[in-house]
């Protein structure tokens, strides 16, 4: 082979080589704004909860119970970015209602594109919005989650039956936001995605699946016996006890990044 051709070949190879290296240094991928559906799977131990009251469950104290209503507020949602800071989802107020299929999720819209490694949210409604007057959407008082006699939202509503309860009924309406009276029952849940990550990128709606185990509402740190506590319908110490229990009922399960 002619020497000049060899030289050309060498030059081209070197150029290609460096160009190929340059390609690795291209500007980073841009992610587009998208939606995230945070799905709450309500279970009792290992089975999905039946809110028709036809399934018998057993609490930590060995007492039988059924469930006829399960509703709770998930609000003030934040997503943990890779750099360790949180993105606050504006105006994020969602009502989860087990009896309505379309209300098993919190749909977060217009989330900045990117990769997230955790989620943080409040179970309940922040104190300001408890006294902000007539509101719409999830905070509409027509959702039957507001104490009209003592202005404030019911954060978590669980109803059912139990043979251990003197009335036969279980009525747990948990609420209260006044810290001055030691009645603030709002609780913050922080969940890491572990080795998974959430990718928000444009039209494909990503899903984060969280499991909420109702059994945890009645144990840890306080084991609840329905014989002694089966009716809570106002702010106070009992509401706080149950809120301290249910704060750890949520576990991160898995993510669908919508690809």
């Amino acid at each position: 082979m002619k020497f000049s051709k060899l030289l050309y070949l060498a030059l081209i190879s070197i150029t290609l080589f460096f160009t190929a290296c340059k390609k690795d240094d291209d500007s980073p991928k841009t992610y587009e704004t998208g939606d995230v559906s945070v799905e709450f799977e309500n279970v009792v131990g290992s089975v999905h909860v039946d809110v028709f009251g036809t399934t018998n469950y057993t609490n930590q104290m060995g007492e039988q119970f059924t469930v006829t209503k399960l509703k709770y507020y998930i609000t003030n949602v934040e997503l943990l970015k890779e750099d360790g800071s949180y993105y606050k989802v504006p105006e994020s107020y969602y009502l989860i209602d087990e009896s309505v299929t379309s209300m098993h999720k919190a749909l977060l819209t217009d989330i900045p594109g990117g990769v997230y490694k955790g989620i943080r949210y409040m179970v309940g409604v922040d104190s300001t919005r408890n006294v902000s007057g007539a509101q719409e959407g999830a905070l509409d008082i027509g959702n039957d989650m507001f104490w009209t006699w003592n202005s404030g939202y019911i954060f978590f509503k669980m109803e059912g039956t139990s043979t251990a309860s003197s009335s036969g009924d279980l009525t747990f309406h948990i609420g209260g936001f006044k810290s001055s009276l030691n009645q603030a029952a709002m609780r913050t849940v922080t969940l890491s995605f572990g080795s998974s990550t959430l990718t928000v990128d444009g039209a494909r709606e990503a899903e984060v699946h969280i499991i909420a185990d109702l059994l945890d509402m009645f144990k840890t740190p306080t084991d609840i016996s329905f014989a002694t506590l089966n009716f809570v319908m106002m702010p106070g110490a009992n509401a706080m006890k149950l809120a301290d229990n249910y704060v750890d009922m949520f576990t991160f399960d898995h993510i669908h990044n919508g690809e």
């Binding site: 007057g133 719409e136 509409d140 027509g142 039957d144 507001f146 003592n150 202005s151 009276l181």
Partner: protein, 341 residues
Amino acid sequence: MRNNVFKIVCWSALLLLGSCVKDEDSNSNEVKFYIPNNFPQPVYTFANNEITQSGFELGRKLFYDPILSRDSSISCGNCHQQNVAFANADHRLSHGVDGLNGTRNSPALFNLAWYPSFFWDGGVTNIEVQAAAPIVNPIEMDETIANCVMKLSRSKTYPKLFKNAFGNDSITSKKMLLALTQFMTALISADSKYDQYVAGKVQLTSNEKSGLDLFRQKCESCHKEPLFSDRSYRNNGLDFSFGKDAGRAHITSLASDSGKFTVPSLRNVALTYPYMHDGRMKDLTAVMNHYSNGVKPSSTLDSLLQGGIPLSNQEKLDIISFLNTLTDNTFINDRRFSEVQ
């Protein structure tokens, strides 16, 4: 003859013109919020809910409409009657759907934009959600908010009224409540004989003036002018113990609040008998006697009422004379606040 015809024509013309000149007051239908002389700034900010004529009229219609009760038998106006300043005339307690009796005396409604809380125990802290409480109470109107919205949406008349007031005909609980709020906050009572006296327009009789002086010495601390209430919660010595109705403690769960009730405004008090949170006192004489001789001690009795308020019979009479000057006839006769037939 021509002269007479001319005269008749002229007089007729004059009469015709005269009848065309409208009396400004009687035809003025417009409602505005205003701050009367000497009143402080209101608590309600009207943010996103300025009073508009269509919003006010929708709120008024809702106020008098029994559609908001389960069986369409009870409206707000049943227990809040304009001729007694929107209290419940001559009723110790009110009765709701199915004739069920309530537990507390229906408060009069006026000057609500100045109140930081509502009810005898202050349980409601934003006037926008006040109306929801009697609507859903099983012993009052026994209806759900969702049903109210559904009934209004299905009615032949309301969707258009909501469209006029809010720009579109989709009815939500928020819009319903905002309209009611516009009506309620428009109810301003500040034109009693007392108000006119303070403005220098009228004189009080000597008994009324003595009564005012006594009032300022002995009643003012709680029934502060010009609202005639400081809207605090106090135990005014009605009972030794409060198992039946703990008042403010029902809201705070604090033992120190047991037996405390909201200090009511005394405006229009001559109209709003019977008195106290459970309507136990039938007239102002009974109230005067209570304060002078009937105050019952308990651990939460207001410190200002230890030992009661000694009053001679003449002093009682004078105070009652003064209290009668707080009746606002302009307010109770204002057609803008009345039910439209």
